[in-house]
Symmetry: C2
Subunit: 334 residues, 2 copies
DNA sequence: TTGTACGCGTTATCAA
DNA sequence: TTGATAACGCGTACAA
């Protein structure tokens, strides 16, 4: 069943049928009805390949996810999937290592699949600077700020990582902690980690304190890395009554490490994470964290991308609010 | 850059170029070299849309995932992604609700996308019986047994759920537990749940015991559902020293519920899960569980599907071994 | 072994 | 408002 058959059955020509199917203006109501009647009756479906061939681009949306271990992204991907399943755009999801270049990968995929748009889950300025100019499709960086990058086709949706991190630190500070360890990503490679780090320094500064570099532990974003890094930190033996982990996955691994060292959370060591993973509420103790609004992140990203694709709207940059989620893993230090 | 350009630049004709690109036999080594040289030099990429149009089917592989809350599937999807990223087949991943028909959804998607093959993550016999005949593409049911369904294009890869569940129960029994609650899926809709339930009954039978129906709590596969169901079970007040949760996500939610009720795991109530989620090792207590080999599950599924797609090999049904993972959430009952 | 020519299903341009 | 027809890039009979 092709539009050719549709033309025959409906008594109209190919051109008219195509116009009906694409909602073009210059077509009589009568013709529209006639064609649609056959469509309903025969269950006709347009051949995407032919359409794409003609239009010389694909019909999918590409999602490049940075880091397999980061559950936050899993949450966002799920939401994105739910949103896009209501549209006619198939999703191509591509996972790359946390330390690889998402832009390089996206550029390659764009050449191959010619997607309508691309969504970056995580990304670093350096990579964008280097080769984002190679990609033409409207894109949005989710979980990162692309405002200063100033690419006309690159939007961004994120929380304020600096303030979020500062908020976490301040919470720890206000709870009486002074000996704080920070577990975060590689600050050279990850903007998010760098900006959150700056937030930490800032928060400390506001209290007249300075951050001791040796208290920053570089860590991949995964349960295991959190566990291993915290184990090492404990072994190093710096005084420590609280830990700020830049991701909940890291925090969860760290808590396990603390417990295995015979210490308790939060009575011996308080832990605050970042992300607001769903599982946090089912742990013991419930994880205190800076919650990212995954739903808002996903919805805004999708809306912006769709606007760009369908209506050619220009890039936008939106900041969605984080929230301090005080649960059970942080305690007043006496 | 099309094969037309390639033809011009290489000095050969369109036909020869196409043959080289598709690895056809009747082409001289000289021609092959000449064409490939230009391909390398110019970075030519074949137009998938045109190719697909010509061959009247897509080039992607469809994955239908049943249930958004089931982390096991997330693990498997990740592995699948890693495997297929090494091939030229894009993955289209579609999540549906745990209680919807995966086969119905797949059939619709097949009409639309004409994928080369489809992977079902979770699925129930009833749905397959009803409309799997509508789908022609080679498929594999991951995490379910399709042997008796006897479709020529449906393979399956799974662990032995009956034995796995029996193993979990026996472990509890051997640990001295008699008052055991079981939290699992809807046995009418989910074959996996039904079969695991049968395993429970069987294990009990081997010990001369019978399963009291009121001890089975129906529960969706998610942290929250596990938490809520366990809370309700605790409220019901049946004597209980151990819980078998048919999924780790359920077990994790249940453990939280138990703790909130002021009881301890495992000293008051032992809990064993099913799946072997990565996070299990970072919890307190570490989760004892029946571990499914996600890697083997993914690898076998991919291999079978690829064999079917590329070499037309017939359906296969493989059982991969589960393993009892004794960690910290189950204790001897005195 | 190589080249030519046609058709896949669609959109878009132009004339009617 | 409608219809005829030319591309889009590729695979493949068929001819050479």
């Amino acid at each position: 069943m092709t539009i050719k058959d549709l033309a025959r059955e409906s008594g109209y020509s190919l051109g008219t049928v195509s116009r009906v199917l694409n909602g073009h203006p210059n077509v009589s109501e009568k013709a529209r009805k006639a064609v649609m009647a056959v469509v309903e009756a025969q269950g006709f479906e347009l051949n995407t390949n032919a359409k794409n061939l003609k239009q010389s681009h694909g019909d999918s949306i590409l999602i490049v996810v940075k880091g397999r271990g980061n559950e936050l992204f899993a949450d966002i991907v799920e939401r994105l999937q739910a949103i896009f399943s209501a549209t006619r755009y198939p999703l191509i999801i591509d996972y790359i290592d946390e330390l690889d270049s998402e832009v390089h990968r996206a550029a390659a995929l764009c050449r191959e699949k010619k997607p309508l748009g691309v969504l970056f889950l995580g990304g670093s300025r350096m990579n964008f600077l280097e080769e984002f100019s190679k990609i033409q499709a409207p894109s949005v960086l989710v979980t990162g700020d692309a405002r200063e990058l100033n690419f006309p086709n690159l939007s961004s949706v994120t929380t304020d990582d600096r303030e979020g991190a500062a908020c976490a630190m301040e919470y720890l500070l206000q709870s009486g902690h002074r000996d704080i360890l920070v577990l975060g990503g590689n600050r050279t490679l990850s903007d998010t980690s760098r900006v959150r780090y700056e937030g930490c320094v800032e928060a400390l500064g506001r209290s007249g304190l300075t951050f001791d570099e040796s208290r920053y532990y570089t860590c991949r974003y995964s349960y295991r890395a959190g566990y291993e890094t915290m184990t090492k930190a404990l072994y190093d033996g710096l005084p420590c009554t609280a830990v700020f982990a830049m991701a909940d996955v890291i925090a969860i691994g760290a808590i396990r490490a603390i417990r295995e060292a015979g210490r308790h959370v939060p009575s011996d060591i308080s832990v605050i994470g970042y992300d607001g993973l769903g599982i946090g509420d089912f742990l013991l103790p419930k994880l205190s964290t800076i919650a990212q609004p995954t739903e808002a992140l996903a919805e805004n990203s999708a809306a912006i991308l769709l606007d760009a694709i369908e209506s050619g709207k220009p890039a936008r940059h939106v900041i969605v609010p984080y929230s301090l989620s005080c649960k059970e893993s942080v305690q007043q230090h006496i």
